[in-house]
Protein backbone atom coordinates (compact mmCIF):
# COMPACT_ATOMS: atom_id res chain seq x y z
CA UNK A 1 0.00 0.00 0.00
CA UNK A 2 2.80 2.40 0.87
CA UNK A 3 4.96 1.12 -1.93
CA UNK A 4 2.98 2.77 -4.73
CA UNK A 5 3.46 6.42 -3.65
CA UNK A 6 7.10 5.63 -2.94
CA UNK A 7 7.59 4.32 -6.46
CA UNK A 8 5.70 7.29 -7.84
CA UNK A 9 7.91 9.75 -6.03
CA UNK A 10 10.99 7.78 -7.10
CA UNK A 11 9.85 7.97 -10.73
CA UNK A 12 9.16 11.69 -10.34
CA UNK A 13 12.59 12.22 -8.80
CA UNK A 14 14.28 10.31 -11.63
CA UNK A 15 12.34 12.28 -14.20
CA UNK A 16 13.40 15.54 -12.56
CA UNK A 17 16.98 14.37 -12.40
CA UNK A 18 16.72 13.48 -16.05
CA UNK A 19 15.52 16.97 -16.86
CA UNK A 20 18.25 18.53 -14.77
CA UNK A 21 21.02 16.62 -16.54
CA UNK A 22 19.70 16.97 -20.08
CA UNK A 23 21.31 20.09 -21.52
CA UNK A 24 18.64 22.37 -22.96
CA UNK A 25 20.42 22.49 -26.33
CA UNK A 26 19.79 18.76 -26.76
CA UNK A 27 16.08 19.48 -26.87
CA UNK A 28 16.09 21.90 -29.71
CA UNK A 29 15.97 21.75 -33.49
CA UNK A 30 18.90 22.61 -35.74
CA UNK A 31 17.00 24.09 -38.72
CA UNK A 32 17.93 27.64 -37.71
CA UNK A 33 21.57 26.94 -36.86
CA UNK A 34 24.74 27.56 -38.78
CA UNK A 35 28.46 28.13 -38.47
CA UNK A 36 30.64 31.18 -39.00
CA UNK A 37 34.29 30.52 -39.85
CA UNK A 38 36.86 32.53 -37.88
CA UNK A 39 39.59 31.96 -40.42
CA UNK A 40 42.74 33.10 -38.66
CA UNK A 41 41.84 31.60 -35.29
CA UNK A 42 40.94 28.17 -36.69
CA UNK A 43 37.59 28.26 -34.91
CA UNK A 44 33.92 28.23 -35.81
CA UNK A 45 31.07 29.99 -34.07
CA UNK A 46 27.79 28.14 -33.89
CA UNK A 47 25.07 30.69 -34.66
CA UNK A 48 21.29 30.79 -34.71
CA UNK A 49 19.36 32.89 -37.20
CA UNK A 50 16.00 32.92 -35.37
CA UNK A 51 17.53 35.23 -32.77
CA UNK A 52 20.60 36.43 -34.71
CA UNK A 53 22.90 35.25 -31.97
CA UNK A 54 26.07 33.28 -31.42
CA UNK A 55 25.58 30.18 -29.26
CA UNK A 56 29.08 28.79 -28.88
CA UNK A 57 32.62 28.71 -30.19
CA UNK A 58 34.37 25.50 -31.23
CA UNK A 59 38.18 25.79 -31.53
CA UNK A 60 40.87 23.47 -32.89
CA UNK A 61 39.97 23.22 -36.58
CA UNK A 62 43.39 24.08 -38.03
CA UNK A 63 44.01 26.34 -41.04
CA UNK A 64 40.65 27.74 -42.13
CA UNK A 65 42.02 30.30 -44.60
CA UNK A 66 39.79 28.71 -47.22
CA UNK A 67 37.08 26.76 -45.46
CA UNK A 68 33.94 25.11 -46.72
CA UNK A 69 31.10 23.44 -44.81
CA UNK A 70 28.54 20.82 -45.74
CA UNK A 71 25.83 19.47 -43.40
CA UNK A 72 24.46 16.08 -42.45
CA UNK A 73 20.90 15.59 -43.65
CA UNK A 74 19.59 15.64 -40.06
CA UNK A 75 21.15 19.07 -39.64
CA UNK A 76 23.08 18.04 -36.55
CA UNK A 77 26.61 17.83 -37.90
CA UNK A 78 28.70 20.37 -39.81
CA UNK A 79 31.58 18.93 -41.85
CA UNK A 80 34.25 21.61 -42.04
CA UNK A 81 36.91 21.33 -44.76
CA UNK A 82 40.07 23.32 -43.96
CA UNK A 83 42.82 24.54 -46.23
CA UNK A 84 45.34 22.27 -44.50
CA UNK A 85 43.42 19.13 -45.47
CA UNK A 86 41.62 18.90 -42.12
CA UNK A 87 38.09 17.44 -42.17
CA UNK A 88 36.27 18.15 -38.92
CA UNK A 89 32.82 16.88 -37.98
CA UNK A 90 31.31 19.39 -35.57
CA UNK A 91 28.29 18.47 -33.43
CA UNK A 92 26.06 21.55 -33.47
CA UNK A 93 24.00 20.35 -30.50
CA UNK A 94 26.80 19.22 -28.20
CA UNK A 95 28.80 22.19 -29.50
CA UNK A 96 32.04 20.32 -29.84
CA UNK A 97 34.20 18.41 -32.31
CA UNK A 98 32.82 14.91 -32.87
CA UNK A 99 35.64 13.66 -35.13
CA UNK A 100 38.58 15.17 -36.92
CA UNK A 101 41.04 13.81 -39.50
CA UNK A 102 43.73 15.24 -41.77
CA UNK A 103 42.79 13.83 -45.16
CA UNK A 104 45.05 15.71 -47.60
CA UNK A 105 47.86 18.26 -47.78
CA UNK A 106 45.77 21.05 -49.25
CA UNK A 107 42.00 21.01 -49.56
CA UNK A 108 39.40 23.31 -51.05
CA UNK A 109 36.08 21.87 -49.90
CA UNK A 110 33.68 18.99 -50.14
CA UNK A 111 30.12 17.84 -50.28
CA UNK A 112 27.70 15.17 -49.05
CA UNK A 113 26.12 12.39 -51.12
CA UNK A 114 22.45 12.16 -52.09
CA UNK A 115 21.82 9.47 -49.44
CA UNK A 116 23.78 11.40 -46.80
CA UNK A 117 26.18 8.51 -46.15
CA UNK A 118 29.30 9.77 -47.95
CA UNK A 119 31.37 12.88 -47.46
CA UNK A 120 33.51 13.64 -50.50
CA UNK A 121 36.45 16.04 -50.21
CA UNK A 122 38.03 17.86 -53.15
CA UNK A 123 41.74 18.45 -52.90
CA UNK A 124 44.50 20.50 -54.48
CA UNK A 125 47.34 18.44 -52.99
CA UNK A 126 47.29 15.61 -53.79
CA UNK A 127 44.90 16.60 -56.59
CA UNK A 128 41.76 14.48 -56.56
CA UNK A 129 38.72 13.57 -54.51
CA UNK A 130 38.27 11.23 -51.54
CA UNK A 131 35.14 9.60 -50.16
CA UNK A 132 34.59 9.10 -46.43
CA UNK A 133 31.93 7.41 -44.34
CA UNK A 134 29.79 10.28 -43.03
CA UNK A 135 29.48 8.69 -39.57
CA UNK A 136 33.02 7.55 -38.90
CA UNK A 137 35.08 9.57 -41.43
CA UNK A 138 36.69 6.28 -42.50
CA UNK A 139 38.32 6.61 -45.93
CA UNK A 140 36.38 4.48 -48.42
CA UNK A 141 37.98 5.33 -51.75
CA UNK A 142 39.81 8.01 -53.69
CA UNK A 143 39.95 9.22 -57.26
CA UNK A 144 43.29 10.87 -58.07
CA UNK A 145 42.92 13.66 -60.63
CA UNK A 146 45.64 12.13 -62.81
CA UNK A 147 44.65 13.47 -66.20
CA UNK A 148 47.81 12.35 -67.99
CA UNK A 149 50.47 9.88 -66.80
CA UNK A 150 52.09 11.40 -63.71
CA UNK A 151 50.18 14.69 -64.07
CA UNK A 152 47.71 15.64 -61.36
CA UNK A 153 45.25 18.50 -61.43
CA UNK A 154 43.73 20.64 -58.73
CA UNK A 155 40.05 19.85 -58.28
CA UNK A 156 37.46 22.66 -58.13
CA UNK A 157 33.70 23.06 -58.08
CA UNK A 158 32.71 19.70 -56.55
CA UNK A 159 28.92 19.26 -56.48
CA UNK A 160 26.75 16.35 -55.35
CA UNK A 161 24.04 15.23 -57.79
CA UNK A 162 21.54 12.38 -58.00
CA UNK A 163 22.57 8.74 -58.16
CA UNK A 164 25.42 9.09 -55.66
CA UNK A 165 27.35 11.02 -58.28
CA UNK A 166 29.73 13.95 -57.77
CA UNK A 167 30.67 16.36 -60.54
CA UNK A 168 33.82 18.48 -60.46
CA UNK A 169 36.27 20.30 -62.69
CA UNK A 170 40.03 19.98 -63.07
CA UNK A 171 41.88 23.31 -63.24
CA UNK A 172 45.02 22.16 -65.09
CA UNK A 173 43.34 19.44 -67.14
CA UNK A 174 40.49 21.61 -68.42
CA UNK A 175 38.02 18.76 -67.90
CA UNK A 176 34.80 17.99 -66.05
CA UNK A 177 34.70 14.61 -64.33
CA UNK A 178 31.63 12.76 -63.07
CA UNK A 179 32.31 10.09 -60.44
CA UNK A 180 29.64 7.57 -59.44
CA UNK A 181 29.93 6.29 -55.86
CA UNK A 182 27.04 3.81 -56.06
CA UNK A 183 29.66 1.35 -54.84
CA UNK A 184 31.56 3.69 -52.53
CA UNK A 185 34.67 1.51 -52.49
CA UNK A 186 34.76 1.15 -56.28
CA UNK A 187 33.82 4.47 -57.84
CA UNK A 188 33.63 4.87 -61.61
CA UNK A 189 34.57 8.09 -63.40
CA UNK A 190 33.67 9.60 -66.78
CA UNK A 191 35.67 12.49 -68.24
CA UNK A 192 34.48 15.38 -70.43
CA UNK A 193 36.66 18.07 -72.08
CA UNK A 194 35.53 21.45 -70.70
CA UNK A 195 37.78 24.40 -71.61
CA UNK A 196 40.80 26.31 -70.32
CA UNK A 197 41.38 26.53 -66.57
CA UNK A 198 37.99 25.92 -64.95
CA UNK A 199 38.19 27.78 -61.62
CA UNK A 200 34.92 26.69 -59.94
CA UNK A 201 31.64 25.00 -60.73
CA UNK A 202 28.00 24.81 -59.78
CA UNK A 203 25.05 22.56 -60.31
CA UNK A 204 21.59 24.04 -60.91
CA UNK A 205 19.17 23.58 -57.98
CA UNK A 206 17.44 20.68 -59.76
CA UNK A 207 20.76 18.93 -60.24
CA UNK A 208 20.49 18.84 -64.02
CA UNK A 209 23.17 21.21 -65.34
CA UNK A 210 26.76 21.51 -64.17
CA UNK A 211 28.43 24.80 -65.08
CA UNK A 212 32.19 25.30 -64.86
CA UNK A 213 33.44 28.89 -64.94
CA UNK A 214 36.57 29.22 -67.06
CA UNK A 215 39.51 31.43 -66.16
CA UNK A 216 41.65 30.76 -69.24
CA UNK A 217 39.00 31.75 -71.78
CA UNK A 218 35.82 33.83 -71.94
CA UNK A 219 32.97 31.43 -71.44
CA UNK A 220 31.35 28.86 -69.22
CA UNK A 221 31.35 25.13 -69.80
CA UNK A 222 27.94 23.44 -69.47
CA UNK A 223 27.28 19.74 -68.98
CA UNK A 224 23.70 18.43 -69.12
CA UNK A 225 23.66 15.59 -66.57
CA UNK A 226 20.45 14.24 -68.07
CA UNK A 227 22.34 13.70 -71.31
CA UNK A 228 26.01 13.65 -70.36
CA UNK A 229 26.89 11.59 -73.45
CA UNK A 230 26.44 14.79 -75.47
CA UNK A 231 29.47 16.23 -73.69
CA UNK A 232 30.12 19.72 -72.36
CA UNK A 233 29.21 22.74 -74.47
CA UNK A 234 30.38 26.34 -74.20
CA UNK A 235 27.96 29.10 -73.21
CA UNK A 236 28.52 32.86 -73.05
CA UNK A 237 31.60 32.28 -75.22
CA UNK A 238 33.61 35.38 -76.04
CA UNK A 239 31.86 37.57 -73.46
CA UNK A 240 35.03 39.62 -73.15
CA UNK A 241 34.70 40.73 -76.81
CA UNK A 242 38.44 40.48 -77.22
CA UNK A 243 39.05 43.37 -74.83
CA UNK A 244 41.98 43.42 -72.40
CA UNK A 245 41.04 41.63 -69.19
CA UNK A 246 41.17 43.50 -65.90
CA UNK A 247 43.32 41.83 -63.24
CA UNK A 248 41.50 39.33 -61.01
CA UNK A 249 42.73 39.64 -57.42
CA UNK A 250 40.42 36.92 -56.13
CA UNK A 251 38.71 34.06 -57.94
CA UNK A 252 34.91 34.12 -58.00
CA UNK A 253 32.97 31.37 -56.24
CA UNK A 254 30.11 29.58 -57.96
CA UNK A 255 27.22 27.61 -56.41
CA UNK A 256 23.61 26.82 -57.25
CA UNK A 257 22.49 30.16 -55.80
CA UNK A 258 23.13 31.71 -59.22
CA UNK A 259 19.69 30.82 -60.60
CA UNK A 260 16.95 33.42 -60.18
CA UNK A 261 13.82 34.15 -62.16
CA UNK A 262 14.65 31.64 -64.88
CA UNK A 263 18.03 33.26 -65.46
CA UNK A 264 21.58 32.38 -64.42
CA UNK A 265 23.51 35.27 -62.85
CA UNK A 266 27.24 34.68 -63.21
CA UNK A 267 30.41 36.63 -62.45
CA UNK A 268 32.45 37.67 -65.48
CA UNK A 269 36.21 37.10 -65.21
CA UNK A 270 38.36 40.18 -65.75
CA UNK A 271 35.33 42.41 -66.30
CA UNK A 272 33.35 44.32 -63.73
CA UNK A 273 30.10 42.74 -64.85
CA UNK A 274 27.52 40.16 -63.88
CA UNK A 275 26.52 38.09 -66.91
CA UNK A 276 22.91 37.00 -67.28
CA UNK A 277 21.86 33.98 -69.35
CA UNK A 278 18.47 32.38 -69.94
CA UNK A 279 18.46 29.13 -67.95
CA UNK A 280 16.76 27.18 -70.80
CA UNK A 281 18.47 28.39 -73.94
CA UNK A 282 21.68 29.49 -72.11
CA UNK A 283 21.83 32.53 -74.40
CA UNK A 284 23.07 35.81 -72.92
CA UNK A 285 20.13 38.07 -72.08
CA UNK A 286 21.84 40.94 -70.26
CA UNK A 287 24.91 42.06 -68.42
CA UNK A 288 24.92 44.31 -65.39
CA UNK A 289 27.83 46.68 -64.71
CA UNK A 290 29.00 46.45 -61.09
CA UNK A 291 31.62 48.05 -58.85
CA UNK A 292 34.44 45.56 -59.16
CA UNK A 293 35.39 41.97 -59.97
CA UNK A 294 32.41 39.95 -58.63
CA UNK A 295 33.25 37.09 -56.25
CA UNK A 296 29.87 35.85 -54.97
CA UNK A 297 26.80 36.47 -57.13
CA UNK A 298 23.98 35.11 -54.95
CA UNK A 299 20.26 35.18 -55.53
CA UNK A 300 17.96 35.77 -52.60
CA UNK A 301 16.01 32.51 -52.18
CA UNK A 302 12.90 34.01 -53.86
CA UNK A 303 15.03 35.12 -56.82
CA UNK A 304 13.89 38.75 -56.83
CA UNK A 305 17.31 40.10 -55.86
CA UNK A 306 20.90 39.13 -56.60
CA UNK A 307 23.58 40.23 -54.14
CA UNK A 308 27.18 40.72 -55.25
CA UNK A 309 30.43 41.15 -53.35
CA UNK A 310 33.82 41.90 -54.85
CA UNK A 311 37.49 40.99 -55.03
CA UNK A 312 40.26 43.12 -53.52
CA UNK A 313 40.51 46.17 -53.71
CA UNK A 314 36.73 46.73 -53.95
CA UNK A 315 35.89 44.25 -51.23
CA UNK A 316 34.30 46.69 -48.81
CA UNK A 317 31.29 47.01 -51.15
CA UNK A 318 28.14 45.01 -51.68
CA UNK A 319 25.66 45.66 -54.48
CA UNK A 320 22.10 44.46 -54.89
CA UNK A 321 20.66 43.83 -58.36
CA UNK A 322 16.90 43.87 -58.98
CA UNK A 323 16.32 40.83 -61.19
CA UNK A 324 13.30 42.29 -63.00
CA UNK A 325 14.92 45.63 -63.81
CA UNK A 326 18.34 43.98 -64.25
CA UNK A 327 20.16 46.90 -62.64
CA UNK A 328 21.89 47.74 -59.37
CA UNK A 329 19.37 49.18 -56.91
CA UNK A 330 21.49 49.41 -53.76
CA UNK A 331 25.18 49.85 -52.96
CA UNK A 332 26.54 49.80 -49.41
CA UNK A 333 29.48 48.81 -47.24
CA UNK A 334 28.75 46.56 -44.26
CA UNK A 335 32.43 46.64 -43.25
CA UNK A 336 35.97 46.13 -44.51
CA UNK A 337 36.85 43.06 -46.61
CA UNK A 338 33.41 41.50 -47.08
CA UNK A 339 34.22 37.85 -47.76
CA UNK A 340 30.91 36.02 -47.77
CA UNK A 341 27.13 36.25 -47.61
CA UNK A 342 24.52 33.72 -46.55
CA UNK A 343 20.77 34.21 -46.84
CA UNK A 344 18.43 32.94 -44.16
CA UNK A 345 16.44 30.13 -45.79
CA UNK A 346 13.40 32.30 -46.62
CA UNK A 347 15.57 35.27 -47.55
CA UNK A 348 14.22 38.02 -45.29
CA UNK A 349 17.68 38.60 -43.88
CA UNK A 350 21.20 38.05 -45.14
CA UNK A 351 24.36 37.59 -43.06
CA UNK A 352 27.57 39.24 -44.30
CA UNK A 353 31.05 38.69 -42.93
CA UNK A 354 33.53 41.59 -42.82
CA UNK A 355 36.95 40.11 -42.21
CA UNK A 356 38.82 43.32 -41.44
CA UNK A 357 36.01 44.81 -39.36
CA UNK A 358 35.81 41.62 -37.27
CA UNK A 359 32.07 41.37 -37.47
CA UNK A 360 29.11 39.67 -39.08
CA UNK A 361 26.23 41.95 -40.07
CA UNK A 362 22.65 40.78 -40.44
CA UNK A 363 20.81 42.94 -42.98
CA UNK A 364 17.10 43.08 -43.80
CA UNK A 365 16.81 42.41 -47.54
CA UNK A 366 13.66 44.54 -48.01
CA UNK A 367 14.77 47.71 -46.21
CA UNK A 368 18.56 47.12 -46.30
CA UNK A 369 18.62 48.11 -42.61
CA UNK A 370 21.23 46.43 -40.41
CA UNK A 371 19.33 44.30 -37.90
CA UNK A 372 22.22 42.90 -35.84
CA UNK A 373 25.98 42.90 -35.67
CA UNK A 374 27.86 39.97 -34.18
CA UNK A 375 31.54 40.24 -33.22
CA UNK A 376 33.74 37.62 -34.89
CA UNK A 377 37.51 37.23 -35.29
CA UNK A 378 38.31 37.77 -39.01
CA UNK A 379 35.15 35.97 -40.17
CA UNK A 380 34.96 34.40 -43.63
CA UNK A 381 32.37 31.78 -44.60
CA UNK A 382 28.86 31.66 -43.14
CA UNK A 383 26.93 28.41 -43.62
CA UNK A 384 23.37 27.59 -42.49
CA UNK A 385 22.05 24.06 -41.99
CA UNK A 386 19.36 24.61 -44.66
CA UNK A 387 22.14 23.77 -47.14
CA UNK A 388 21.84 20.18 -45.96
CA UNK A 389 18.51 19.84 -47.78
CA UNK A 390 19.70 21.22 -51.12
CA UNK A 391 21.27 19.53 -54.14
CA UNK A 392 24.77 20.76 -54.84
CA UNK A 393 25.62 22.13 -51.40
Amino acid sequence: MRLRPAIASLVAALALAGCATTPPEALRGTGDLGVVIERAAGRVQIVEHSTNSSLATVPGLGDLSHAHVTFSRDGRFAYVFGRDGGLTKVDLLARRIDKRIIQAGNSIGGSISQDGRLIVAQNYEPGGIKAFDADTLELLSEVPAEYAPGKFSKVVGLADVSGQRFVYALFEAGEIWVTDFTNPRRPTTTRYPAGKQPYDGLVTPDGRYFLAGLFGEDGISLLDLWQPERGATKILAGYGRGEQKLPVFKMPHLRGWSLAGGQAWLPAIGRHEVLVADARSWQETARVAVKGQPVFVMARPDGRQVWVNFAFPDNEWVQVIDTVEKRVVHTFSPGKAVLHMEFEPRGEEVWLSSRDSNRVSVVNTATFATRSELPADAPSGIFFTARGQRIGF
Binding site: Y124, K250, P313, R355
Partner: protein, 113 residues
Protein backbone atom coordinates in the same frame (compact mmCIF):
# COMPACT_ATOMS: atom_id res chain seq x y z
CA UNK B 1 99.55 58.42 -55.70
CA UNK B 2 98.03 60.03 -52.64
CA UNK B 3 95.56 61.81 -54.84
CA UNK B 4 94.32 58.63 -56.60
CA UNK B 5 94.07 56.85 -53.24
CA UNK B 6 91.94 59.71 -51.98
CA UNK B 7 89.70 59.39 -55.02
CA UNK B 8 89.40 55.65 -54.43
CA UNK B 9 88.49 56.20 -50.82
CA UNK B 10 86.02 58.91 -51.76
CA UNK B 11 84.37 56.70 -54.40
CA UNK B 12 84.27 53.80 -51.99
CA UNK B 13 82.71 55.94 -49.28
CA UNK B 14 80.22 57.30 -51.81
CA UNK B 15 79.26 53.80 -52.92
CA UNK B 16 78.87 52.67 -49.34
CA UNK B 17 76.67 55.67 -48.59
CA UNK B 18 74.61 54.89 -51.70
CA UNK B 19 74.26 51.24 -50.70
CA UNK B 20 73.21 52.20 -47.19
CA UNK B 21 70.67 54.71 -48.49
CA UNK B 22 69.19 52.18 -50.98
CA UNK B 23 68.83 49.64 -48.20
CA UNK B 24 67.08 52.25 -46.10
CA UNK B 25 64.81 53.20 -49.01
CA UNK B 26 63.99 49.50 -49.55
CA UNK B 27 62.81 49.16 -45.97
CA UNK B 28 59.19 50.40 -45.78
CA UNK B 29 58.10 52.37 -42.73
CA UNK B 30 56.73 50.21 -39.87
CA UNK B 31 53.10 51.17 -40.54
CA UNK B 32 53.52 50.28 -44.21
CA UNK B 33 55.22 46.99 -43.29
CA UNK B 34 52.13 46.13 -41.29
CA UNK B 35 49.92 46.87 -44.29
CA UNK B 36 52.09 44.74 -46.55
CA UNK B 37 52.03 41.82 -44.12
CA UNK B 38 48.25 42.10 -43.97
CA UNK B 39 47.99 42.23 -47.78
CA UNK B 40 50.22 39.19 -48.27
CA UNK B 41 48.58 37.03 -45.61
CA UNK B 42 44.98 38.03 -46.37
CA UNK B 43 44.77 39.02 -50.04
CA UNK B 44 47.65 37.05 -51.60
CA UNK B 45 46.38 34.41 -49.17
CA UNK B 46 43.13 34.06 -51.16
CA UNK B 47 45.09 31.97 -53.64
CA UNK B 48 48.33 31.13 -51.81
CA UNK B 49 46.76 30.37 -48.41
CA UNK B 50 46.86 32.52 -45.31
CA UNK B 51 49.73 30.34 -44.07
CA UNK B 52 51.25 30.65 -47.56
CA UNK B 53 51.24 26.85 -47.93
CA UNK B 54 49.57 27.14 -51.34
CA UNK B 55 46.11 26.90 -52.85
CA UNK B 56 45.18 27.63 -56.43
CA UNK B 57 48.53 29.43 -56.44
CA UNK B 58 51.77 27.72 -55.32
CA UNK B 59 53.19 27.75 -51.79
CA UNK B 60 55.27 30.83 -50.90
CA UNK B 61 57.29 29.18 -48.16
CA UNK B 62 61.09 29.67 -47.86
CA UNK B 63 62.02 26.18 -49.13
CA UNK B 64 59.81 26.62 -52.18
CA UNK B 65 61.24 30.07 -53.06
CA UNK B 66 64.90 29.43 -52.23
CA UNK B 67 65.98 28.68 -55.82
CA UNK B 68 64.16 31.64 -57.37
CA UNK B 69 66.20 34.82 -57.96
CA UNK B 70 64.82 37.83 -56.07
CA UNK B 71 64.43 40.01 -59.16
CA UNK B 72 62.31 37.40 -60.92
CA UNK B 73 60.03 37.09 -57.85
CA UNK B 74 59.76 40.90 -57.67
CA UNK B 75 58.83 40.99 -61.37
CA UNK B 76 56.17 38.30 -60.78
CA UNK B 77 54.62 40.33 -57.95
CA UNK B 78 54.70 43.62 -59.87
CA UNK B 79 53.69 42.39 -63.33
CA UNK B 80 51.99 39.05 -62.70
CA UNK B 81 52.55 35.90 -64.77
CA UNK B 82 50.70 35.83 -68.09
CA UNK B 83 48.90 32.56 -68.78
CA UNK B 84 48.41 31.91 -65.07
CA UNK B 85 45.98 33.30 -62.50
CA UNK B 86 48.70 35.55 -60.99
CA UNK B 87 47.85 39.25 -61.53
CA UNK B 88 50.29 42.15 -61.29
CA UNK B 89 50.15 44.13 -58.03
CA UNK B 90 51.84 47.36 -59.21
CA UNK B 91 48.75 49.40 -58.33
CA UNK B 92 49.25 48.51 -54.70
CA UNK B 93 53.03 48.54 -54.14
CA UNK B 94 56.31 49.64 -55.69
CA UNK B 95 59.29 47.47 -56.56
CA UNK B 96 61.12 48.28 -53.32
CA UNK B 97 58.12 47.10 -51.33
CA UNK B 98 57.86 43.96 -53.46
CA UNK B 99 61.56 43.42 -52.79
CA UNK B 100 60.94 43.73 -49.05
CA UNK B 101 58.12 41.15 -49.36
CA UNK B 102 60.38 38.75 -51.31
CA UNK B 103 63.14 39.04 -48.71
CA UNK B 104 60.64 38.37 -45.89
CA UNK B 105 59.07 35.44 -47.74
CA UNK B 106 62.49 33.83 -48.11
CA UNK B 107 63.15 34.23 -44.37
CA UNK B 108 59.74 33.04 -43.22
CA UNK B 109 57.01 35.63 -43.47
CA UNK B 110 55.91 37.68 -40.41
CA UNK B 111 52.63 36.70 -38.78
CA UNK B 112 49.61 38.99 -38.56
CA UNK B 113 49.38 41.03 -35.37
Amino acid sequence: MDRSLLIHVAVLLGLTALAVSTTQAAEPAPARQKELVHMVRQDCGSCHGMRLAGGLGPALLPERLADWPDDSLVATIIHGRPGTAMPGWQRFMNEAEAGWIVARLKQGFPELD
